[in-house]
């Protein structure tokens, strides 16, 4: 198969855009599928099958080919990559919950996250399940179900790639709650203990604060300016990554 980029691309793009040659379009798609696969791989293992992400990324590729302006003088590679990544990110955003969770439960989970913050401040301690239920106007069973369903969100990308992406989109959870704002990178970096090198800086710092400094979830949440539930998800996700990384899953002990 011909490598993407260069004069070959331009010729195929001209044939497609100026003459409507669908064969040329198909050849471009095939040329760029390895790029799609490579980018999709970066987002795999987050609750979605690689092949599904390749399919989603391919849509971004096709859109890039169809919208490409041959007069702009940029390489298709340069234009296609952010389109492919953008499509994959949109997929995660739209399908953020890794298992099908009813919308009502998703909304309750978001509401509980906000109530948890408010009650923790008001009561000066972590609220109980009955207190959360009372504040939310739902049953204790519904609170527990919503909290449990919230764990289904843990497989979504939380921070890698972190912050605004190439297309300016925020990661799903960073856009989820009003209370969550940008984590400010501190110079006080967490120690790079064995097994922690698979974590990104924010995960490492949170793990360090929780398991070395002994801060509670709510203290960590207050310190870095994200919600307590987000801290909980990040801790679980980080520990999963460490477990996956360390051989058969058993941490060095």
């Amino acid at each position: 198969m011909t490598e993407p980029g260069g004069a070959g691309d331009r010729e195929l793009l001209l044939r497609y855009h100026e003459s409507g040659d669908l064969e040329a379009r198909q050849q471009l798609i095939e040329r760029y599928l390895p790029l799609v696969r490579s980018l999709a791989r970066r987002y795999a293992n987050r609750g979605e099958q690689l092949e599904d992400l390749v399919q989603v990324g391919s849509i971004g590729l096709i859109k890039a080919i169809d919208r490409f302006d041959v007069e702009r003088g940029v390489e298709l590679t340069t234009y296609a990559a952010p389109n492919i990544i953008g499509e994959i990110k949109r997929h995660f955003r739209d399908k953020g919950w890794s298992i099908r969770v009813p919308r009502g439960l998703q909304e309750l989970n978001v509401r509980l996250s906000q109530l948890l913050e408010r009650l923790t401040v008001e009561l000066e301690r972590s609220p109980t399940i009955p207190e959360l239920a009372e504040a939310a106007g739902v049953t204790e069973e519904e609170v527990l179900e919503a909290l449990e369903s919230g764990q289904a969100y843990s497989t979504v990308s939380l921070s890698a790639p972190s912050g605004p992406g190439e297309d300016g989109e925020l990661d799903p959870l960073e856009a989820l709650g009003e209370l969550e704002h940008e984590y400010e990178v501190s110079e006080d970096r967490a120690v790079l203990a064995p097994g922690l090198d698979v974590l990104d800086e924010r995960e490492r710092r949170i793990i360090h604060m929780r398991f070395w400094e002994g801060l509670t979830q709510s203290q960590i949440a207050a310190r870095i300016g994200i919600s307590q539930m987000h801290v909980s998800r990040l801790i679980r996700r980080a520990l999963e990554k460490v477990r996956d990384e360390i051989g058969a899953g058993k941490p060095s002990g």
């Binding site: 972590s126 399940i129 909290l147 064995p194 801790i235 520990l239």
Partner: protein, 113 residues
């Protein structure tokens, strides 16, 4: 565990810590001996105790309860998440005993036993 936590009026953070402690033990290969595991939740006046077993003591880290390993070991996780960690042998089976001191959030609202 969530249902019991609600009934006992454990705080959200206490419930989170107990769940994460339990997950840390159960989600790693090799700790559980056999294909069945029993989890018991014992409720005291000022603490709750999780008993998990039977476990394979040879697979468990030696520094349980006093983490010395530099990395994110099971010992470090458990020593943060609960207050007391011990391994007990009962009827030939090894049980991990995780005790979490948890003053109930609203003891005045609990009905007398």
């Amino acid at each position: 565990m969530g249902g019991l936590a609600a009934r006992l009026e454990l705080s959200y953070e206490t419930l989170e810590d107990l769940q994460l402690a339990l997950e840390s033990v159960l989600e790693q290969d090799g700790y559980v001996r056999g294909d069945r595991v029993t989890v018991r939740l014992l409720v005291g006046d000022e603490s709750v105790v999780l008993e998990v077993g039977p476990l394979d003591p040879a697979q468990l880290p030696a520094d349980l309860g006093h983490p010395v390993a530099e990395g994110i070991s099971l010992a470090r996780l458990l020593s943060t998440l609960v207050d007391e960690v011990s391994l007990e042998e009962r009827d030939g089976a090894h049980l991990l005993r995780l005790e979490k001191r948890a003053s109930l959030a609203r003891p005045e609202t609990r009905e007398p036993a």
